[in-house]
Symmetry: C2
Subunit: 230 residues, 2 copies
DNA sequence: TTTTCTATTTTTGTATACGATATATTTGTA
DNA sequence: TACAAATATATCGTATACAAAAATAGAAAA
């Protein structure tokens, strides 16, 4: 391949590492992220670390208080459900739009992506599955015909990644996921906007509830406050 | 007031200034933003400037290419329409949810905000109008009962700000806007989700088309390519 | 004249250093 | 003993400095 040297910027690497730390609960909610300490641990200087923290503040995972520092904003159950609810609505909208606008060529590629997902699943290659699944969804975002929406949807998808990964190895959710992919594909081929919307909405929503199950299953170690939503 | 020293971080100030530069077309699409040159012009060092550029890359206004620099991503007409279309959908969803969940107390505050908008308009204080209008909309986001959605909506609102401001002094769009605010308020009071959705959707959509008019009116100086969306 | 390789220059990425601000501790007084 | 003020310490924000990568220009060869 023509990958002489990917050269991922340090700040981006740090972004993902800290994101994972927060998602996995290695740092508690409200905890202050010590710049110097983290810089030492990661073996980098404060400069790229600060850039990563600023990036994280953009996605709401940390709060940056001027002259005070960076504080972890660990999403509680309520917030996680809210996040997946938004993702479900956005994906459903994309699917609805795509049903009326998707091209033959895009449909062909989408079918390929769906097959690739199934292949990865049969090979039990979860890492590859995740990539292929992302491709499948991204294609639907793009088929919506609204480039800005597609970007935002992809962004949201990326931000939810750490919270979605936790459920990958959970039950046979994945085989069910495959069936849903096929259903979405059929709805888009038929140009059935309402059906595409409904199936996609359910497809995403379930991810949220599964996550909740998962979290509850691994002992209620860290009790989460659960601020009122309404 | 208790503003001893707001102490806004330099990076955030730079973010807004560059955002404005892009919105006002002071920098052309695809143009490279020279770090050292900008740092000199703004009278700051490269460090906070780089943080601002990273922030801008998060909102899609600039593209950061590793070891190459920051390049302006000037939204074309198509993209602007797409952005307002997404905003309309999001706001409409908020309104729809709010219709079923808004509390008496929130309704009271919303009425106040609407009145404050009208007062600012009558005083021809457009700056104040903008603030009050933002308050009105933010309250509806929060009334949706989904905190994450509210944050995302507020974020989007903020990102669209530079492109919305251009139309402030345009025609008597504002008095029409007031009427729509009242209609939204009525729909929420009545708990009429469908109506709240429809009115809000139109309320935002119009902003997008007005913008387009505005841009077209000020001579087609900078011809915009208009990449195909679908 | 065109092409390719190399050397120079420019610019990005990262580290370090210094000044400013907030927090913690200590001391003095009521 | 409790509370307030002042000092001390730690951390953040910004500037500067250095190293690595890419763009550019020039020279040599086809």
């Amino acid at each position: 391949m023509n990958l002489p040297a990917p050269k991922t910027p340090t700040a981006d690497v740090l972004y993902e590492r800290i994101e994972t730390m927060i998602a996995e609960g290695q740092v508690k909610d409200g905890e202050r992220l010590d710049e110097m300490r983290l810089a030492r641990d990661f073996g980098v200087s404060r400069t790229p670390l600060r850039e990563a923290l600023r990036l994280l503040s953009g996605t709401g995972l940390v709060e940056l208080i001027p002259n005070r520092g960076a504080f972890v904003r660990q999403p509680d159950f309520t917030r996680l459900v809210e996040m997946f609810e938004v993702m479900a609505e956005v994906e459903a909208w994309c699917a609805r739009l795509a049903a009326g606008r998707i091209t033959k060529a895009q449909l062909l590629l989408l079918r390929k992506a769906a097959s690739a997902c199934e292949a990865a699943l049969q090979a039990q290659d979860y890492k590859r599955y995740y990539v292929e699944n992302a491709t499948f969804h991204t294609m639907i975002y793009e088929a919506s015909g609204n480039g800005f929406l597609a970007e935002e949807a992809a962004n949201l998808h990326r931000r939810l990644k750490p919270f979605r990964q936790a459920q990958l190895s959970f039950g046979d959710r994945l085989s069910q996921s495959m069936i849903e992919h096929r259903e979405i594909l059929l709805a888009l081929e038929a140009g059935d906007a309402a059906r595409a919307d409904a199936v996609m909405r359910n497809h995403i929503r379930v991810q949220g509830s599964i996550y909740e199950e998962y979290r509850q299953s691994m002992s209620g170690e860290r009790e989460v406050a659960g601020q009122q939503a309404s």
